[in-house]
Symmetry: C2
Subunit: 337 residues, 2 copies
DNA sequence: AATATAACTGTAAGCGGTTACAGTAAATTA
DNA sequence: TAATTTACTGTAACCGCTTACAGTTATATT
């Protein structure tokens, strides 16, 4: 590969001039600029990023840590991130940490050694430990899809409110016995999706003067099968709910099929509501009424914010809550009784 | 951040020794090694990748170009890639090219300037132009999920054979009127998924002495709605197929719902077969009989091959065809008549 | 015409590492 | 004990770029 020296020699100028041309410095005469451009063209020269990074202490790269890219939810977020990074000439280094603390820190360490300009971090739970690491190493970071009590920039949604609204919607339809299928709760740490959504669910019931039945609260693993099994159990026995709120669409799909396999029909006997509004939620039968999360926007806005931070631009708000909304389709109707 | 000089000073050795320690050179005394390690520990020193990359002309980074990460199919492939890259201490730079030639070349150029050690390339159609670019720039590349007639390493599946097997399966069930919903054909270029699968479909019919009806061949866009519309049209009018083969699961889901919305039932009236075996294909009702593509393995094997190439290791086979298989579920049964 | 200014241009010192090569001290060998 | 070998260690050049600073022209000013 041609280097800056080759170009300088061929163009008959110094390497400083070549560098200036490629950095759009105004300190170059038009004549010199043309000579350099011509020489570069001839040699197929493009500046080497690693060399430039070393000299400028800037890599134009953003590290991206997500739990699992093969999950459609994160894939959509990442797409949003990549799109805006591409616009601003940033590159993305992708890391799958599987929500494992150890892997996360390992990746953070590695991204640091690679001098990434900043990190977009997406995890289930942003702990104090995370906070400390980012703070001590002075790493520019924005949290995607998650809020936190720590002083860290983020863009996410209000999970509590979203679940609250969802359950309220079901109640407004006339439902009084509403089940929930939530995700793993760990140690009931705050600000996990599952915890917040579960809280929102409970609060909605309370605010409407409805009782909370433990039998109607089931934990699953965010997978289809998990949703299926949880719903199956919930539907066993005498008293069953008239509606089930699954906090992910995938689990909701499992729930719908569990309803059918229990000899009941959806939505006639049991309404099922999802969360996320993934592409396929309109493909189920019945199509899924769900809470829509703006996944692409979460990614795009987070990336935009980070890039602004890197450029030292003014930022109005470091903690952004994007709006969720209820998408009404066919899986929820008023109960018969 | 501490540099190698800081460590050298603190440890009372030269930077060469520090470098040797971090490169596991045997040319260091145990005493010196300990001093260096201690000093590094104390300063929190880790070698800078950009500097190292410049000196060694190796970035330990692999460029990854896919059409669209938000498509679950590619997301799964990417996960496979990332997992093995992580094992071998490689990093991934992710690029979404949307199957646009221009974006692809732009990204290739950019990855080159970043001195990535190699590229894993996933596109719909690998053209001569692509071949030339990779060849001229002497870029190490492996194609994922795609075969080609050019002399380029790849790991993919045999789309022709896969479609052939799928249609054969339907025929073995007793179907004689089988429709296909394929993807965009462009200019009928070779080695596009769609073209190969369409050919496999036709060949299976021919080999079984069945007629090919144009009416039963519909083009769609790999989306749910596209599959739905294509199936709807196919089901209109007098003569309709008894089975529909959609070359992606998503389109198959559309087809299933089109069957229902036509007042027919699946699989009793119309069998529907998919392609890919994405996670959700077991979540549909009826669950989807489909051709399984080993997406994760495609990614993992491609990454492993590229890394071997980068290490100059021996490689048995530069062109690997992974096995597909028919996954029998409930959406296909024998026709009534 | 001499001087000041503007407009470029080049030299050289980094950026943080790797590594060839030369040097030194200790251990072996003769 | 001297010579040779072994086992480290350090010096310095280099990787390809940026940029401060010191020129060097050409142009404008007095």
């Amino acid at each position: 590969m041609a280097t800056i020296d080759d170009v300088a020699k061929l163009a008959g100028v110094s390497i400083a001039t070549v560098s200036r041309v490629f950095n759009n410095s105004p300190l170059v005469s038009e004549k010199a600029r043309q000579k350099v451009l011509k020489a570069a063209e001839e040699l197929g020269y493009k500046p080497s990023m690693p060399a430039r990074s070393l000299a400028m202490k800037k890599t134009n790269t953003i590290g991206l840590i997500v739990p699992d890219i093969s999950n459609p939810y994160y894939a959509e977020v990442v797409r949003g991130i990549e799109d805006v990074c591409n616009i601003y000439k940033y590159n993305i280094t992708l890391c799958n940490a599987d929500n494992k603390r150890e892997k996360e820190f390992q990746y953070i360490e590695m991204l640091k050694n690679r001098w990434v300009d900043g990190i977009i971090f997406h995890c289930d739970y942003f702990s104090e430990e995370h906070y400390e690491v980012f703070k001590n190493d002075n790493i520019k970071v924005v949290l995607a899809g998650r809020t936190t009590k720590f002083d860290v920039p983020y863009v996410g949604i209000d999970n509590f409110k979203a679940a609250y609204d969802a359950v309220n919607y079901l109640i407004s339809l006339g439902h009084k016995r509403i089940g929930i299928i939530h995700g793993p709760l760990d140690d009931m740490k705050e600000t996990i999706d599952s915890v917040d959504r579960l809280k929102g669910y409970k609060q909605a019931l309370i605010d409407n003067g409805l009782p909370i039945y433990d039998k109607f609260i089931k934990e699953a693993n965010f997978k289809y099968k998990g949703g299926y099994n949880a719903a199956m159990e919930m539907l066993k026995g005498e008293m069953r709910p008239t509606a089930i709120f699954a906090i992910s669409d995938i689990m909701a799909m499992g729930a719908i099929n569990a309803v059918f396999d229990s000899g009941l029909s959806c939505p006639e006997d049991i309404s099922v509501m999802g969360f996320d509004n993934i592409d396929l939620s309109e493909a189920t039968r019945p199509s899924l009424t769900t809470v829509s999360q703006p996944m692409y926007e979460i990614g795009a806005v987070a990336a935009r914010m980070l890039i602004k931070m890197l450029n030292g631009e003014e930022i109005d708000d470091y903690q952004i809550i994007l709006k969720h909304k209820i998408v009404v389709r066919n899986s929820c109707i008023s109960p018969k009784d």
